[in-house]
C-alpha cells in the first residue's frame, strides 16, 4: 500500500532533480496491464471487505472489467515503439510478453466464468476472494513473462505462487491437503530458484537478463557459477511447469484443488512459467545454450515418459489430466531443445494450444457428475454420452486434442514441436515423444471408452447449464478451428516470437 501511494505521489508530482535519490523517468504504459489487474484486485478486495452481502455478479463484473482493461492495455502494446525496457530496465516490452499477457488474461476470464458457475452451485466452495486472488495471480504471471530482471521474475513467481496456494486451499478437506503439499514443495523449490538467482548474480554481477547475457557473452566471468545458476533455475522452473522429476505435486494438487482453480493454474502457470523460462534460457543463458539444452532434453524424456505412463493407469480424470500436463511439459521442453526461433515458436504454439484444451477439459470436468462424492473418478464418466451427449462431445474434442489426433490443434502443436526438435537433430527425443504420445493417447482413450461404451449406472446427474457449456463450446471450436487453420495463431506467433535483447 505505502509503496503504491508513494509511487502515486511520484505520478502526480514528477521527481525533482535535487531529490536525494534521483528517480528515473517513468513510462507506465508497458505495465498498465499489471496495474489494471492489481487495481481491479484491490477493488474486489475492498468490495469483499466492506459489502455486507457481496454478490458474485459484482465480483465477476469487477474481475471482468479488470481483465478486459488489462487485455486492452496489452493489445495496445502490440505496436509499441518506445524504449524496449522500462522501469529501470526491469521490464521488457515486446510482443512476446504481450501475446502471453493476452493468453493469460483470457485463461483467467474463463476460469472466472467457470468459478462463478461452480460457486453458484456450491456457495461454500469458492468465496469472494477468489476473484482478487486470480487477478493478482494473473498480474504476477503477466509480470513474470515481461520481467527483464531475475529478481522481478522471482517476486512475480512468489506473487502467483502465494495466490495459487491460497486458491488451491479454497475448497474442502482435500484442497487443504493439496494446499499444504503445494505450499511446502513450492517454498522448497523457490528456495532453489532464489539460490539460482543468487548464483546468476554471483556469476555476472547483475540480475538483469540483458546484462547477464552481455556478461556471459563477453566471457569475462567464470561459466561455472553461471552453470550452477542454470541448474538451480531449471529446478525452480521445472517445478512450476511441472516437468518430471519436479512434478510430484501436480497430481495431488490438481485432484484436490477446486476445479476452476485447476483450470486456471494448469494453463496459466504453464504459460507464464514457460514464457519466463524461454526468456531466461533463450536470452539470458543464451551463451550457455550448449549446456542447458541437454538438461531440457533429459527433462523432456523423463517428463513425457512419466506423464504418459502414469496417466494411463489413473482412475480419476483430474489426476489423469495432471499427469498429462506433465507429459505436455515434456513435449514443450522437447520443442525448446532446438533452442532456435522455430523451437520457441513451436513451444509458444503448443502452450497456447495446451491452455485452450486443458481449460476446456477441466471446465467440462467441473460439470460432470456434480452430485456424486467422487465427481472426477472414471466411474462418474461411465455412460456420459448417453447421459449428457453435449458434455461428452466437448470432452471428446478436448481429449482428442490432448492426444494429438488430427484435425485438432493438439496435433498441429505436437507436429511443430516434433519437427523443430527433429530439425535440430534430436532424434531419440522425437522417437520417445512419439511413442509417449501413443501411450498418452491410450490414457485419454480409457476415458472416452467409459463415456461412450459403458452404460450409465446409479442416478448420477450432470450440470448441463448453458453458460459453462457455452464457454466449453467456444473452447472446443477454437481447438478445431486452430487445428484446421493453424495460421490464425502461427501468424501471430511468427511476429511475437522475437525476444528483445
Amino acid at each position: 500500500m505505502i509503496a503504491l501511494l508513494a509511487h502515486l505521489s511520484q505520478v502526480i508530482a514528477p521527481p525533482v532533480v535535487e531529490a536525494p535519490i534521483p528517480t528515473p523517468e517513468l513510462v507506465f504504459q508497458p505495465i498498465l496491464p499489471e496495474i489494471a489487474l492489481c487495481v481491479a484486485g484491490i477493488v474486489g478486495m475492498l468490495y469483499e471487505a466492506f459489502a455486507r452481502r457481496g454478490t458474485r455478479s459484482v465480483h465477476m463484473a469487477i474481475a471482468m472489467i479488470g481483465l478486459f482493461a488489462a487485455g486492452l492495455a496489452a493489445v495496445r502494446l502490440w505496436n509499441w515503439d518506445g524504449v524496449p525496457f522500462v522501469m529501470g530496465d526491469t521490464v521488457a516490452v515486446d510482443r512476446f510478453s504481450v501475446l502471453a499477457t493476452v493468453v493469460l488474461v483470457l485463461v483467467a476470464a474463463f476460469a472466472c466464468i467457470f468459478a462463478t458457475h461452480e460457486a453458484g452451485r456450491r456457495p461454500s466452495s469458492l468465496r469472494g476472494e477468489f476473484y482478487p486472488l486470480v487477478l493478482f495471480a494473473t498480474a504476477g504471471m503477466t509480470l513474470i513473462v515481461a520481467a527483464n530482471d531475475l529478481i522481478v521474475v522471482f517476486l512475480a513467481l512468489e506473487i502467483l505462487s502465494l495466490a495459487l496456494y491460497v486458491l488451491t486451499g479454497m475448497g474442502g478437506r482435500r484442497s487443504n491437503e493439496a494446499a499444504v503439499k503445494y505450499f511446502l514443495l513450492g517454498a522448497f523449490s523457490s528456495a532453489f530458484f532464489l539460490y539460482g538467482v543468487a548464483m546468476a548474480y554471483g556469476a555476472t554481477g547483475s540480475t538483469k537478463i540483458t546484462s547477464i547475457v552481455a556478461a556471459l557473452a563477453g566471457q569475462t566471468t567464470s561459466p561455472s557459477l553461471a552453470l550452477l545458476a542454470m541448474g538451480l533455475l531449471v529446478i525452480g522452473f521445472g517445478f512450476k511447469v511441472s516437468a518430471a522429476p519436479f512434478h510430484m505435486w501436480t497430481p495431488d494438487v490438481y485432484q484436490g484443488a477446486p476445479t476452476p482453480v485447476v483450470a486456471f493454474m494448469s494453463a496459466a502457470t504453464k504459460v507464464a512459467a514457460f514464457f519466463a523460462l524461454m526468456r531466461v534460457f533463450d536470452v539470458a543463458l543464451q551463451p550457455l545454450t550448449l549446456d542447458w539444452t541437454p538438461v531440457a532434453y533429459g527433462l523432456a524424456v523423463v517428463s513425457v515418459l512419466v506423464g504418459a505412463l502414469l496417466a494411463a493407469t489413473q482412475r480419476d480424470v483430474k489426476r489423469m489430466l495432471a499427469y498429462s500436463s506433465v507429459a505436455h511439459a515434456g513435449f514443450i521442453l522437447a520443442g525448446l531443445t532446438s533452442a532456435n526461433a522455430t523451437g520457441i515458436r513451436a513451444a509458444m504454439f503448443y502452450l497456447i494450444a495446451y491452455s485452450v484444451m486443458t481449460v476446456g477439459a477441466f471446465g467440462v470436468t467441473m460439470l460432470v457428475a456434480t452430485k456424486t462424492a467422487e465427481p472426477s473418478s472414471y466411474d462418474s464418466y461411465e455412460g456420459l454420452a448417453a447421459r449428457s451427449p453435449g458434455l461428452a462431445a466437448l470432452m471428446t474434442v478436448f481429449l482428442l486434442s490432448l492426444a494429438g489426433i488430427p484435425p485438432t490443434v493438439g496435433f498441429i502443436a505436437k507436429l511443430s514441436v516434433f519437427s523443430s526438435a527433429a530439425v535440430a537433430g534430436n532424434w531419440p527425443l522425437v522417437l520417445v515423444c512419439v511413442l509417449a504420445s501413443v501411450i498418452a493417447a491410450y490414457a485419454y482413450l480409457r476415458v472416452i471408452v467409459r463415456m461412450y461404451f459403458r452404460e450409465p449406472h446409479g442416478e448420477t446427474s450432470d450440470d448441463t447449464s448453458l453458460v459453462p457449456q457455452l464457454a466449453g463450446l467456444v473452447l472446443a471450436v477454437t481447438v478445431v478451428v486452430l487445428g484446421v487453420f493453424p495460421r490464425l495463431l502461427s501468424g501471430i506467433i511468427e511476429r511475437a516470437s522475437i525476444l528483445r535483447w
Binding site: P389, F411, F418, V434, L445
Partner: protein, 514 residues
C-alpha cells in the same frame, strides 16, 4: 466448384455432419438416415464428375489443388488424383451409400452413428487424395476416431477390446510414420525450404544416404503394414472385423485396408525407390506368408466374420505381393486387386451381416441349410464367394492372375506359393458356404425371410460390379496403367518393367484375335 472438385469430394460428407449437428435433437432417426444417404450419394455423384474429367492417358496428378496452410513449417493443403487413387476414391464413394443403406436398421444413437460414418468418409477420401504428407497423415489418423467409435459403439460383445486394440495398434504404427515424415521434413528443410509435398520430398529423399532411406522406408512400411494388414501385424484385424457392425466391417475391409496398401505404393515406392527394391524380396516373402497363413487360419475359423477377415489378410497379401514385384502387370494387378477385394469382401460382409440379422449367430456350426429358406440371399452369397475365390469372369480373378503372372517374372517360387492360396481359398470359402447354405435346416431357422427390397437395392450394384469388372477389367486398367507404369519405372528403371520377354511385344499386340 470445378477447380476445387477434389476438395468438394473430400468435404461434402462433412456438410451432412453439419446438417446433423444443426438439426440437433430435432433430427429424427429416419431424418438422420436420409440426410446421410443424401450426403453420401451427392459425394458419389461428384466423384463421378471427377471420373468424367479424369484424363486416363496422363500418368501425373490431376485436378491438383494447392494452398499454403502453415507456412511456418511449410505445411500446405495439397490434393491431387491419379490413376491409382482414382478408383480407390470411387470405390469409397460407392461403398459409402451402400454401407449407409446397410445400416438402415441401426436403432441406437442413429445420429452419432451417421456422423461417424460421414466423418469416416471424409477422412478416407482425404487420405486417398492428399499429396502433402502431413495432410495425408492428418486424414490417416482421423480415420481412427470414427472407426473406433463405430466398432466400440455398435459392435459385438468384445467390442471395446477390439476398438481399443484397433486404435492403439494403428496409432502405434502411424507413430513411426509421423517420425519418418518429420525426419524427411527435417532433411528437406536442410536442403531447401521445408515442405511436406510428396513430389518435392521424393527428390529430397533421393539425396539421402542409402542407409537413412532404408530406415525411413521401414518406418513408413510399419505404419502401412499394420493398416494393410501384413503378416505378422494383422492380429487386430480379425477382432475388429468380428466385433464391428456390418457397415463397419464392410468399410474396414472395403476401404480402410486399402489406405495401407495405397500408402505403400504412393509413399514408400515414390519416396524410397532404392529401399523399396532393396526390401522387395523380404516384403514379398512376408506377403506370401500372409497369403498362405491367412488362408490356413481361415480354414480353422468357426465364426463367419473371422473367416472373412482372415481371407482379407490373404487377399491383401496378394495386393502387397503385386505391388512389390515391380512389374507393370503385377502392380496394376495389385491396384486392381485392391478395388476388387474391396467390392468382393464388402459384398461378403454385407451378406454375412444380413444372415446375422436373421439368424442372430455368426457361428458356422449353428447354421446350415439356409439355401432352402432364402435361396436368393444365399445365391448372392455364393456369387460373392466365387468372386473372391477368383473365378474367371468375376472380378477377383483378373487381379490375382495379373499378380501371379507379374510376380512370375521376379520369382517363380513366390508366384507358385501365392497360387497355392487359390486352392486354399476355394477350400475355406466353399467349406463355409457349404456349412451355411447346405445340409439340413435347423428348426429355429424355418421361415426366415428372404432378401428384402432394400437389401436387393444395396446388393445389386455391388454384385453387378463384381461381374462387370470381371468381364471388362480394362475399364479400370486403362486409367491405372499409366500411373503404375510411372511408379514401376521410377522404382526399377533397369529391371524389366513388364513380364513380357523382349521382342514379344509385337506378337502380344498383333496376336490377340488376329
Amino acid at each position: 466448384m470445378s477447380e476445387h472438385l477434389l476438395s468438394v469430394v473430400i468435404f461434402l460428407p462433412l456438410l451432412g455432419v453439419v446438417g446433423l449437428l444443426m438439426g440437433g435433437r430435432q433430427v429424427s432417426d429416419a431424418g438422420a438416415r436420409w440426410i446421410t444417404m443424401m450426403a453420401t450419394l451427392a459425394t458419389f455423384a461428384v466423384s463421378l464428375t471427377v471420373l468424367q474429367r479424369f484424363v486416363a492417358a496422363d500418368p501425373g496428378f490431376q485436378l491438383v489443388e494447392q494452398a499454403s496452410w502453415l507456412p511456418g513449417i511449410g505445411l500446405q493443403y495439397l490434393v491431387g488424383i491419379d490413376g491409382i487413387s482414382l478408383w480407390l476414391v470411387l470405390l469409397t464413394t460407392f461403398l459409402f451409400p451402400i454401407s449407409v443403406l446397410a445400416s438402415w436398421k441401426v436403432g441406437t444413437d442413429v445420429r452419432r452413428y451417421m456422423i461417424a460414418m460421414l466423418v469416416l468418409e471424409t477422412a478416407v477420401l482425404g487420405s486417398f487424395l492428399a499429396l502433402d504428407l502431413i495432410v495425408f497423415f492428418i486424414f490417416f489418423e482421423a480415420i481412427l476416431v470414427p472407426m473406433y467409435l463405430l466398432i466400440g459403439g455398435w459392435g459385438g460383445e468384445r467390442r471395446v477390446y477390439a476398438a481399443v486394440k484397433f486404435f492403439v495398434y494403428t496409432m502405434a504404427g502411424s507413430a513411426f510414420l509421423l517420425l519418418a515424415i518429420i525426419f524427411l521434413y527435417a532433411k528437406a528443410s536442410g536442403v531447401g525450404a521445408g515442405t511436406f509435398d510428396v513430389r518435392v520430398l521424393a527428390d529430397t529423399a533421393a539425396t539421402l544416404p542409402v542407409e537413412t532411406a532404408r530406415w525411413l522406408f521401414l518406418a513408413f512400411f510399419v505404419a502401412f503394414a499394420v493398416k494393410v494388414p501384413l503378416f505378422p501385424l494383422h492380429t487386430w484385424l480379425p477382432d475388429a472385423h468380428t466385433e464391428a457392425p456390418t457397415a463397419g466391417s464392410v468399410l474396414l475391409a472395403g476401404v480402410l485396408l486399402k489406405v495401407g496398401a495405397y500408402g505403400l505404393i504412393r509413399f514408400n515406392m515414390a519416396l524410397f525407390p532404392e529401399a523399396s527394391k532393396h526390401f522387395a524380396m523380404a516384403v514379398s516373402v512376408l506377403a506370401v506368408i500372409g497369403i498362405v497363413y491367412g488362408a490356413i487360419c481361415a480354414l480353422s475359423q468357426r465364426d463367419v466374420k473371422r473367416l472373412v477377415a482372415y481371407s482379407s489378410v490373404s487377399h491383401l497379401g496378394f495386393v502387397v505381393l503385386g505391388l512389390f514385384a515391380f512389374t507393370e502387370q503385377a502392380v496394376t494387378g495389385g491396384v486392381l486387386q485392391m478395388v476388387n477385394h474391396g467390392l468382393a469382401t464388402g459384398a461378403l460382409f454385407l451378406l454375412v451381416g444380413m444372415i446375422y440379422e436373421r439368424t442372430h449367430t455368426r457361428e458356422l456350426d449353428e447354421m446350415g441349410g439356409l439355401a432352402g429358406v432364402m435361396p436368393w440371399l444365399l445365391g448372392f452369397f455364393l456369387f460373392a464367394v466365387f468372386a473372391s475365390v477368383g473365378l474367371p469372369g468375376l472380378n477377383g480373378f483378373i487381379g490375382e492372375f495379373l499378380v501371379i503372372v507379374g510376380t512370375f517374372a521376379v520369382s517363380h517360387w513366390l508366384a507358385v506359393c501365392a497360387a497355392s492360396a487359390i486352392v486354399l481359398g476355394a477350400i475355406y470359402l466353399l467349406w463355409s458356404y457349404q456349412r451355411v447354405a447346405f445340409g439340413p435346416l435347423r428348426d429355429e431357422h424355418r421361415g426366415l425371410p428372404d432378401v428384402s427390397i432394400r437389401e436387393v437395392a444395396l446388393l445389386a450394384p455391388v454384385l453387378a460390379l463384381l461381374l462387370a469388372f470381371g468381364v471388362y477389367p480394362k475399364a479400370l486398367t486403362t486409367a491405372i496403367d499409366p500411373a503404375t507404369k510411372q511408379v514401376v519405372e521410377r522404382v526399377a528403371p533397369d529391371h524389366a518393367t513388364s513380364v513380357l520377354p523382349a521382342g514379344t511385344e509385337q506378337a502380344a499386340n498383333t496376336g490377340g484375335g488376329g
